[in-house]
């Protein structure tokens, strides 16, 4: 059996990804192409996030991987096992202990710190795809900050439904310049991108694109001046397991009704612990 290198990739491959990352961090919200590598898992299953994680992770890093907020889902477990098998880093489910967090579709409930890097798995990197299919024109539109067609979508939804119908992947403007796709995180997480102390990296493996939001960057969702950005609220709802309210919930349809559970399982665990210790 041949020995694998640290972090699966050879050093040249990691260097190329790191170069793309540096460019992305220098131009917040700008989409940087990179040579997405073949991976032992299919493209579209988190390969973008995985390549970013593998190229930045060090021996002393502590890794956390979540899928829709959950540390224990199949995808999260497999990705975590794969990273550990090629790096032997320590893993954790505690948000506060992790230095590198790879995520799909959520930002952990517990606020992040300057010592943490959050890596997003991205299915569709280009925010303009819905209004302009031509890649060359998309680039031109970004270069000239010509986003009026995104605003028209917002206008149409507001006119007909009172608010934008976008439930996830809500377009955000980064540092008053580029508009980007924040990956399919719920609206609830959008305000938490703003001025976040952690470095936020976005990797799209199938689309071969990388982009980033540096720490403490202004992130604003596209919103009309005379309208407020609305996030999901869960009035009167608390987690069936830990009893917490005011977090983002998963809705579970049971035989005898609808239950709500914390979407962030690590946060649910620690809330449950705290409750049991108090009792």
């Amino acid at each position: 059996m041949t020995e694998t290198t640290f972090g699966f990739f050879d050093e040249d491959a990691k260097k190329e990804i790191r170069r793309a990352l540096l460019k992305a961090i220098s131009l917040p919200g700008y989409i940087v192409p990179f040579a997405s590598r073949e991976m032992p898992i299919a493209r579209g299953w988190g390969t973008g996030g995985l390549q970013v994680t593998l190229s930045i992770i060090k021996e002393d890093d502590v890794l956390k991987v979540i899928d829709q907020g959950c540390d224990g889902s199949v995808n999260a477990v497999n990705i975590r096992d794969f990273i550990v098998s090629t790096t032997e880093v320590d893993t954790t489910s505690l948000t506060a202990k992790a230095t590198v967090i790879q995520t799909r579709h959520r930002i952990p409930e517990q606020p992040l710190t300057e010592n943490q890097i959050l890596v997003f798995q991205v299915p569709v990197a280009e925010v303009l795809t819905t209004v302009e299919p031509d890649t060359a024109r998309q680039k031109n539109m970004h270069a000239h900050r010509e986003y009026s067609r995104l605003w028209v979508l917002l206008y149409e939804d507001t006119a007909q439904y009172g608010d934008s119908r976008i439930s996830n992947r809500y377009p955000v403007e980064i540092n008053d310049h580029y508009v980007m796709d924040p990956s399919p995180i719920p609206r609830y997480d959008i305000p938490r991108l703003n001025n976040n102390p952690a470095l936020l990296l976005f990797g799209a493996g199938r689309e071969k694109r990388i982009y980033a939001i540096p720490p403490y960057t202004k992130v604003t969702p596209l919103t009309f001046v005379d309208r407020d950005f609305q996030v999901e609220t869960f009035p009167g709802i608390s987690c069936k397991r830990c009893g917490t309210s005011d977090v983002f919930f998963d809705e579970i349809q049971g035989v005898d009704g609808t239950y709500y559970y914390c979407s962030d399982t690590a946060n649910c665990d620690s809330m449950l612990n705290r409750k049991q210790n108090a009792a």
Binding site: S148, R149, W151, V152, Y155, E156, A159, Q160, F224, V225
Partner: protein, 278 residues
């Protein structure tokens, strides 16, 4: 003077460098004998005054639509300069609009001039509702208040005599004449100083044509903007314009008051045109 066009030319194909001198009305051809390039517009000089309505007539392939598309920057000019009143650079000098970048072109299109195309599919985005199409123009001009955008869109839907209850319907659910009216609403929603119309009523039935022409005329008097109207229909030109230019083989062959051109044409081609249609 609102618009000043100087030596505007458009050559399709690799130019041999002598195309402009070897084509045009005096040579009776638009194809350069040296390099076979097509000279669509040949050194056109034209001025449009404030609130003036200028008509451009000519046969198919005479370059009248190309001239309009050059002004709206849909296509790139080969040579020439175009100045627009109040388009000044930071030093207060007039800016050649043919040299604007994409962002400046967008601003120009959203604030200074609008184009109405013969085919509504060119002027409207069929993926957006009628109101969305109008909103696109208002948003492009920099407006970010929803209520302002909505009320202006409603205002213009009402102006073009569509029921305001249909504001959120999509263009394909409207008839051809209604689509053309939505195009007019979109074009006027940003209060442009110049409206470019490329065969605005061609392909519509006669009663709808008359209604749209009346509407354009009424709105022009009410909102006071200049217009450049391209048409091969002398009825449209007579109805709308104050001044008419006649184009042939890419160059202007006659310029004058519309009445004068239609009643007392001087150039042989204009005489042919007027006698064959009237």
């Amino acid at each position: 003077m609102l618009l000043d066009i100087q030596y505007l030319s458009k050559i399709y194909g690799e130019s041999c460098g002598h195309c402009l001198e070897q084509t045009g009305d005096e040579h009776g051809r638009a194809i350069c004998p040296g390099c076979q390039s097509v000279v669509a517009v040949n050194r056109v000089n034209l001025r449009v005054e404030k609130d003036e309505v200028l008509g451009i007539v000519g046969e198919s392939g005479s370059g009248k639509s190309t001239l309009l598309q050059l002004l709206y920057r849909d296509i790139k000019a080969s040579s020439g300069r175009v100045f627009f009143q109040d388009m000044l650079d930071s030093d207060g000098l007039p800016v050649d609009i043919l040299k604007l970048n994409l962002l400046e072109t967008t601003v120009m299109r959203n604030k200074l001039m609008s184009m109405i195309y013969q085919n509504p599919r060119q002027g409207l985005n069929f993926l957006f509702s009628a109101g969305g199409n109008i909103a696109e123009k208002i948003i492009g001009a920099g407006e970010r208040h929803f209520e302002t955008i909505r009320s202006r869109a409603l205002h213009f839907i009402d102006k073009i005599e569509l029921p305001i209850s249909r504001i959120d319907d999509y263009p394909e659910t409207f008839s051809g004449g209604q689509q053309q009216r939505i195009q007019i609403a979109k074009a006027l929603s940003s209060s442009p100083k110049l409206l470019l119309l490329d065969e605005p009523t061609t392909g519509l039935d006669v009663s709808v044509q008359a209604k749209i022409l009346d509407m354009i005329r009424m709105l022009q008097q009410e909102m006071s903007f200049s217009m450049v109207v391209v048409s091969h229909d002398l009825g449209v030109i007579r109805h709308l314009t104050d001044i008419t230019v006649v184009m042939r083989n890419g160059s202007i062959v006659e310029y004058g008051l519309t009445d004068q051109i239609l009643e007392d044409p001087q150039h042989g081609y204009t005489q042919l045109l007027v006698s064959s249609i009237l």
